[in-house]
């Protein structure tokens, strides 16, 4: 019977079967350099945009009196100063929007907004665009994909029909000045999903272009806000966990309520 030592030895021997030097270093470096130059150009454009925004103008900012600051983009969560941030459209958002954060919030990868990440008091919010979900949240990416039609109602219906969650709604609401429906999700309290390895968590969707999973914690309370912004669907997602206080939940709602969509 094999043990951890055997696996360790096998892995190192298998790794050693590869040559020490990668074959095509120049091509990889050229690709990376092109990407860096492109990012540099985009960064300069962004700086120019910020500079233009900072120039006194007869047009008032979207949120009067607010500070407009660019959000950092880092693999690890980094603290952000309290204030109002402008989030430009991207793979995550079909619209530009502003959002106001109080103290203690962090941003990860430039588009995941968290407070106390990795704890049972975690608060989370993101904008997201997606057109498919997992048919069974308990199976996640070990199961089938359910394609979702383009409308608000299509996504709401798909989430309500998804197996492996407790879903409620749709609740008619507004967000960012646009009509929306809200679907609330919790994980079932039954036995943990065998394929997940996440202690009772379930997997709602995977957003392919941006490589982002939406994992609903076993003790998580998620709300999916689905908006119709002039014919385009935009989703905002929130999640908090069981140890979040009433004050935390209120603050998360305040952050969501601060969203202002710019068209």
């Amino acid at each position: 019977m094999i043990d951890e030592h055997d696996v360790r030895e096998m892995l190192h021997r298998r790794a050693d079967t590869l040559p020490a030097v990668p074959v095509d270093t120049p091509r990889a470096v050229r690709r990376a350099r092109r990407r860096l130059v492109l990012d540099g150009a985009l960064a300069m454009v962004a700086v120019a945009v910020v500079a233009v925004m900072a120039t006194p103008s007869p047009t008032p900012p979207a949120t009067p009196g607010a500070t407009m600051t660019r959000l950092p983009n880092s693999v690890s969560p980094v603290p952000i100063e309290p204030g109002t941030y402008r989030v430009p459209r991207s793979a995550w958002s079909v619209v530009d929007f502003t959002v106001t954060f109080p103290g203690g919030w962090m941003v990860q990868d430039g588009h995941n907004y968290l407070k106390r990440p990795g704890t049972v008091e975690e608060l989370f919010f993101q904008a997201v665009v997606m057109d498919e979900i997992y048919a069974d949240a308990c199976q996640g990416n070990d199961g089938d994909i359910a394609k979702v039609g383009p409308t608000v109602d299509d996504l709401a219906a798909a989430l309500l029909a998804q197996r492996g969650t407790k879903a409620s709604g749709p609740i008619e609401t507004t967000l960012g000045g646009y009509p929306a429906v809200r679907i609330d999700l919790t994980a079932p309290n039954s036995k943990p999903c065998p394929s997940m390895g996440l202690q009772g968590a379930v997997q709602i969707w995977h957003n392919s272009p941006t490589d982002n999973y939406f994992v609903l914690h076993a003790d998580g309370f998620a709300s999916v806000y689905i908006l119709d912004v002039d014919g385009e669907r935009q989703v905002f997602l929130t999640q908090y966990r069981s140890a979040a206080s009433e004050e935390d939940v209120r603050q998360l709602q305040e952050v969501i309520d601060s969203i202002h969509i710019e068209t």
Binding site: D6, V7, M10, P22, T25, V29, V37, S195, G197, D211
Partner: protein
């Protein structure tokens, strides 16, 4: 700021140095996760390209490998996102000619193939713990889960690995 980096650091060969320094280890890691050297090289190149845009955020010399490792694991997971795709791929891999030259190589290759049949997260947890020698907490950081979940993934992965090896014809 980024323009300065593009204009100065890159010209000094920083990218080449980073690639030469880290790509070999990255390819080995990706190979263990995918079983395919060509795919491993592609994944590492993609990971490298993605990370380059974040170079300005990396303040510690050792951080590049940490970020590269996370990106490689995520890209491998993303590559095998659809179970059907993964199954088809692994079937092709199983049909590929063996390059083993002796009995030990054969055993290693067999064990690696069984490892590749594990669910992606179990496979990644085993590789991170036993090849990268990460602690449960460090592996949890890479996989985005708790240390307890890593222990669970490794335990279930090892169990499946043992069962899978028992089913392999000798």
């Amino acid at each position: 700021m980024m323009g300065e980096m593009a204009g100065e650091g890159i010209e000094r060969g920083m990218l080449s140095e980073l690639y030469v320094a880290y790509a070999p280890d990255g390819i080995r890691l990706a190979f263990l996760l995918t079983g395919d050297r060509a795919l491993a090289e592609d994944l590492v190149q993609d990971a490298f390209v993605r990370l380059v845009g974040r170079l300005r955020h990396l303040r510690e010399p050792d951080a590049f490998w940490t970020y590269l490792r996370v990106t490689i694991v995520n890209l491998a997971t993303s590559h095998f996102r659809h179970r059907k795709v993964e199954r088809a791929y692994l079937e092709r891999l199983a049909g590929a000619p063996s390059i083993a030259t002796n009995r030990n190589d054969e055993l290693d290759e067999t064990m690696h193939r069984v490892l590749l049949r594990l669910p992606q997260r179990q496979r990644a947890a085993i590789v991170l713990r036993f090849y990268e020698d990460l602690s449960d907490a460090q592996a949890a950081g890479v996989l985005g889960c708790s240390a307890g979940t890593v222990r669970s993934l490794v335990s279930r992965g090892m169990k499946t690995l043992r069962e899978g090896l028992e089913e392999v014809p000798r």
